[in-house]
C-alpha cells in the first residue's frame, strides 16, 4: 500500500486528482480576482508607470500560474513533473530533520510567530497568500508517493480538511479579534456591538439551514461515493494492525499514551482536561471579552487555551496521522513507512537515573518474603526522588511563580484577585497541562520513562 509503485504508474494514478486540484485552485483565485475587481475592494500595492499592481491583479496572476501547472500535472512525463515537485534532496533533508523534537518545537515556534505577528498575518491579502502557498506546497508534495499514500488514505482525508478548516476559523477569529483590539485602542465599541440587527427565524434562518442541509447531504453523498470506506480485515484478538491508530480525534490522546501510563494518559489527564474546562467560569475573574472577539483583553486566557488546543491537541493529531508509522515509529512526511525501522529507545525511570547513575548503587529492594507494609515502604523509598519532585512541582512551584520573575507580575495579580484556593487550583491545572510537553521533552532528550515508577501496584507517573 505504501509507495512501491513504479513512478510512471504512480503518476498516472495521481494525475486526475492533481490536474483538477490545480484547476480548482486557479478557479478559486479567479473568483477572488473577480470579486475584488467588481466590489472595488482591490487594493493598489505598486504603481509602475501606467500599470497598477493591485490585489485583484495578483489573484489573477496566481490563477494563471495554477492554470499553467495543471496541464503539467496531467502530463505523465517524469521530467516535467519534477518541475512541479519538491526537489528530492530537499525532501530527503526534510525527512532527516524531522524528528519529534524538531516537529514539536517547529510547530510551536511557527504558531508563536503567527501569534506575535497576528496584526500582519491576519490581513486578508497575507492570509490569502498563505493559503495559496500552503495549497501549492501540498500540491507539490503530492507527487511524492509516500506523502500521497498517507494523505489520500480515506482515514486521513478528513484530517487534511481539518487542517485547512481549522486554519480558516483560527484566522477568522484572530482577524476579528485584531480589528476589535484596534477599535478598543481607539475607544470604539467592538464590531459585534454594532451588529445588533435582528433577523427573522422564518424565512432567513430556516432557509439558510435548509440550504446548508442540502449542501452537506450532497457533500456526504459525493464523499461516500468517491472514497472507499476505510474498512479493514476482521478483528482478531491475536493480530493488531500495524500501525494501529485511534480515530483521528483521539490521536492526540494516543500520542499522550506514549509518554504516560494508561491510567494517567487515558483516564486522569482527560478527566482533568474536562474538569479544568468546567472550572474555567469559577477561576476566571476577567470580565472583559464577553460576547466579542478579543486577544489583548484576555491575553492569558487566549494564550493558555490556544496552547492547549493548537499545540497540545491539533499538532499531536497531525503528528499521529501523518508522522506516526508502523510500530508507532516517527517518520518524515516523505519517508517510506518501513516496518523494520530501528530506533533504539532505552527508556529509563527517574529512580534508576537517581540510584544507579547518580549514586552508583543498587536500587533499594525489600528483602525476600517481607510483609506488604515493608514492601510498600521500600517502594516509596525507592521512588522518593520522583515523588518529591512531583509533589514539589505541584505545591512549591505555584508560590514560586508568584514570588520570582519572569512571570511574577502576572501570577501575583492572579493570586491577589483569586485568593489562595482558587489560585492553587488554577496553577495546578496549568502545571498539569505543562507536564505533558515537559514529559515529552524529557523522553526525547534523556529517555525518561516515568517520574514515579511503581509497576508492582500499577502506579506510574
Amino acid at each position: 500500500m505504501h509507495g512501491h509503485l513504479p513512478l510512471d504508474e504512480f503518476l498516472v494514478q495521481i494525475r486526475g486528482f492533481l490536474g483538477s486540484y490545480y484547476v480548482a485552485l486557479a478557479t478559486m483565485n479567479a473568483i477572488a480576482a473577480l470579486y475584488l475587481w467588481q466590489t472595488g475592494k482591490s487594493k493598489i500595492w505598486l504603481r509602475v508607470g501606467p500599470i497598477e499592481l493591485s490585489s485583484s491583479l495578483a489573484c489573477l496572476a496566481a490563477s494563471g500560474l495554477f492554470l499553467l501547472v495543471s496541464p503539467i500535472a496531467y502530463s505523465v512525463d517524469p521530467s516535467l513533473v519534477d518541475v512541479i515537485s519538491i526537489p528530492k534532496p530537499l525532501r530527503a533533508g526534510l525527512d532527516k530533520a524531522m524528528t519529534p523534537v524538531s516537529y514539536s518545537i517547529g510547530t510551536f515556534f511557527v504558531l508563536a510567530v503567527l501569534f506575535v505577528g497576528r496584526r500582519w498575518f491576519s490581513r486578508p491579502e497575507i492570509a490569502w497568500t498563505g493559503l495559496n502557498l500552503s495549497l501549492l506546497l501540498m500540491g507539490f508534495s503530492m507527487t511524492d508517493q509516500n506523502f500521497a499514500s498517507v494523505v489520500t488514505k480515506p482515514d486521513n482525508v478528513p484530517i487534511v480538511g481539518l487542517v485547512f478548516l481549522l486554519g480558516f476559523f483560527t484566522w477568522l477569529a484572530t482577524r476579528r479579534a485584531v480589528l476589535n483590539d484596534e477599535r478598543a485602542a481607539r475607544g470604539e465599541p467592538p464590531l459585534e456591538a454594532l451588529d445588533s440587527e435582528k433577523v427573522l427565524v422564518w424565512p432567513d434562518l430556516v432557509y439558510t439551514e435548509l440550504i446548508c442541509m442540502v449542501a452537506l447531504t450532497a457533500l456526504m453523498l459525493l464523499w461516500a461515493i468517491g472514497l472507499q470506506a476505510p474498512l479493514e480485515e476482521p478483528a482478531s484478538a491475536m493480530k493488531t494492525p500495524n500501525p494501529s491508530k485511534a480515530p483521528w480525534y483521539f490521536l492526540g490522546l494516543q500520542e499522550m499514551l506514549v509518554y504516560y501510563d494508561p491510567w494517567m494518559a487515558g483516564v486522569v489527564l482527560p478527566v482533568t482536561v474536562i474538569g479544568g474546562l468546567m472550572a474555567i467560569p469559577y477561576l476566571d475573574f476577567n470580565k472583559l471579552g464577553n460576547g466579542y472577539y478579543t486577544i489583548t483583553q484576555r491575553r492569558f486566557a487566549y494564550v493558555t487555551f490556544q496552547f492547549g488546543f493548537l499545540v497540545l491537541w491539533i499538532t499531536l493529531i497531525v503528528m499521529g496521522t501523518f508522522l506516526r508509522g508502523p510500530n508507532w515509529n516517527f517518520f518524515g512526511f516523505y519517508e517510506t513507512w518501513d516496518a523494520h525501522k530501528v530506533e533504539a529507545l532505552n527508556n529509563v525511570d527517574l529512580s534508576q537515573h537517581f540510584w544507579i547513575s547518580l549514586l552508583n548503587r543498587p536500587m533499594p529492594k525489600a528483602p525476600e518474603n517481607s510483609d506488604l507494609l515493608v514492601k510498600i515502604v521500600y517502594v516509596v523509598f525507592r521512588e522518593l526522588p520522583g515523588i518529591a519532585l512531583i509533589a514539589g512541582y505541584f505545591t512549591v512551584l505555584p508560590p514560586l511563580l508568584v514570588i520570582f520573575p519572569p512571570f511574577s507580575a502576572l501570577f501575583r495579580n492572579m493570586y491577589l484577585k483569586m485568593g489562595f484556593l482558587r489560585y492553587m487550583v488554577m496553577s495546578n491545572l496549568l502545571l498539569t497541562m505543562a507536564l505533558l510537553p515537559i514529559k515529552m521533552v524529557l523522553r526525547w532528550t534523556i529517555n525518561l520513562k516515568y517520574f514515579i515508577a511503581i509497576p508492582e501496584y500499577l502506579l506510574n507517573f
Binding site: 491475536m238 508507532w328 529507545l345
Partner: protein
C-alpha cells in the same frame, strides 16, 4: 393575512371587546384596574395561602359571570398566577366586601389596604401605580396594557433581578395576616372507607378473598416482582456457566522441548493461543518459558521482529527484549508469563490459567519456566 400578523395585543383585545358587545364594559374597567396594580406588586404579597388568592376571582365571578369579557378573564387569570390576588386599591376591597361578605375576606382587605398604603408611599411605585389611582371610568386599554407590560417579566429570575424581587417580601412578611383556612366543602371531606365486609359487592368479594390469601393486591404485585427478579438473577448466574466452552483449552501441549534452538522464539501458537514459546537465557540461566502475547501497556498484540530481536507493539511502540522485559516505549512492566511444565509424555504443556509477573518477583517460581 399580513394584516392579521401585525395585530398587536391591544388591537386583539379591542376586537374581542367589540365581539362581546361592550356589555361588560362597566365591569371590566374596575376589574382590569385592580389587575395592573396587583401585577406590579407580586413580590409584596407572595406569602398568602391559596385560599386568599382565590378571593378576587371569587369576587369577580358572581358579579356578572355571563358578561365576562376576554380582558376580564385574562385579568382574573393573571391575578391568580401572580399570587397577588388581593385587591390593592381602596375602592375594590369595598366591593369585594359587599359581594362576599365573609369575615376572612375583610381581613384580607385590611391587610391589603396596609400594603397598598405602604406601596404608594414608596417612590418605586408611581409609574406603575398611576393607572390604579385613576378613577375606573377614565381607564383605557392602552394604560392597562402599559401597566401590565411594565410589570415584572415572567419567567426565571436572573441574579441581578433577584434582590429587587425578594426584598419586599422580607420587609412586609410580618405585616401580612394569614387568614384562617376556609371550611372544607362537603364533597371534599373524606368518607370512611367502605370495607368488603360491610358492603357485599363483587369487587369487594374478590378483594377480601385476595386479602385472605396474600394480604393485599399491592403485596401480591410486589411479591411477584420479587420472584421474577430472583429468577432473573438466577438465570444470569446460570449464564455464567455455559454447557459448552467454544474457546480453546487453557491447557495445551506445544511439542517437545528439544525442538527449539537456544534463542529461538516460537510463533506457531500465537494465532490460536496468544502465546510465544521462547527458549532463551534469563538472568544467565537458559530456560523455556511461555510469554503471553498481550502488551502490558494497553493490551495490543505485539509482533516478534526477528531482525531486531525484539517484541514490538504497534499501538504505542512499546518494545520488549526476547525474555519479555520492557525496554522502550510506554509499557510499564515486562510481558507476562504463563505456567509451563513438562507433561508425562515429555511434551511441554502450557497452562494459561496461571500468569507470572516479573515485577512481583514471580518469574522465580519454578512453574513459570522449564530449565534447560
Amino acid at each position: 393575512m399580513a394584516d392579521k400578523k401585525k395585530l398587536s395585543v391591544e388591537e386583539m383585545l379591542a376586537a374581542c371587546r367589540k365581539q362581546d358587545g361592550g356589555g361588560g364594559a362597566g365591569a371590566t374597567a374596575p376589574q382590569a384596574q385592580e389587575d395592573p396594580s396587583s401585577q406590579v406588586t407580586p413580590p409584596t404579597e407572595s406569602t398568602p395561602t391559596k385560599a386568599t388568592k382565590a378571593t378576587p376571582a371569587a369576587a369577580a365571578k358572581p358579579a356578572d359571570r355571563a358578561k365576562m369579557s376576554v380582558a376580564e378573564m385574562l385579568a382574573a387569570a393573571r391575578g391568580e398566577r401572580s399570587e397577588s390576588a388581593k385587591p390593592t386599591s381602596p375602592a375594590v376591597p369595598a366591593r369585594s366586601e359587599k359581594e362576599a361578605g365573609a369575615v376572612e375576606k375583610a381581613v384580607v382587605a385590611k391587610g391589603a389596604e396596609k400594603a397598598a398604603a405602604v406601596k404608594t408611599a414608596k417612590p418605586a411605585a408611581p409609574p406603575v401605580g398611576s393607572p390604579s389611582t385613576k378613577s375606573p371610568g377614565t381607564l383605557d386599554t392602552a394604560s392597562i396594557l402599559s401597566a401590565v407590560r411594565s410589570a415584572a417579566k415572567p419567567g426565571p429570575v436572573s441574579k441581578s433581578e433577584a434582590p429587587a424581587r425578594t426584598k419586599p417580601v422580607e420587609e412586609k412578611s410580618k405585616k401580612i395576616v394569614v387568614p384562617p383556612m376556609p371550611e372544607k366543602p362537603a364533597y371534599a371531606v373524606a368518607r370512611p372507607m367502605s370495607t368488603a365486609a360491610t358492603t357485599e359487592t363483587r369487587r369487594g368479594f374478590f378483594a377480601s378473598v385476595n386479602a385472605k390469601i396474600v394480604g393485599s393486591s399491592l403485596a401480591l404485585g410486589f411479591a411477584s416482582l420479587t420472584v421474577t427478579h430472583i429468577l432473573w438473577v438466577l438465570g444470569l448466574a446460570r449464564f455464567m456457566f455455559p454447557n459448552i466452552l467454544t474457546e480453546p483449552p487453557t491447557r495445551f501441549k506445544v511439542g517437545f522441548p528439544d525442538v527449539l534452538g537456544l534463542g529461538q522464539v516460537d510463533e506457531r501458537f500465537k494465532a490460536q493461543f496468544g502465546v510465544w514459546i521462547v527458549k532463551a537465557e534469563y538472568e544467565g540461566q537458559p530456560q523455556i518459558f511461555a510469554i503471553k502475547s498481550v502488551c502490558t501497556h494497553l493490551g495490543c498484540t505485539p509482533n516478534w521482529l526477528e531482525a531486531e530481536q525484539k517484541f514490538k507493539c504497534p499501538c504505542h511502540g512499546s518494545g520488549f527484549y526476547k525474555d519479555g522485559v520492557n525496554f522502550e516505549g510506554p509499557a510499564p512492566r515486562p510481558l507476562e508469563r504463563y505456567a509451563i511444565r513438562i507433561s508425562d509424555d515429555g511434551q511441554l504443556e502450557v497452562d494459561k490459567s496461571r500468569v507470572f509477573h516479573e515485577e512481583l518477583g514471580q518469574w522465580k517460581d519454578i512453574s513459570s519456566f522449564v530449565p534447560v
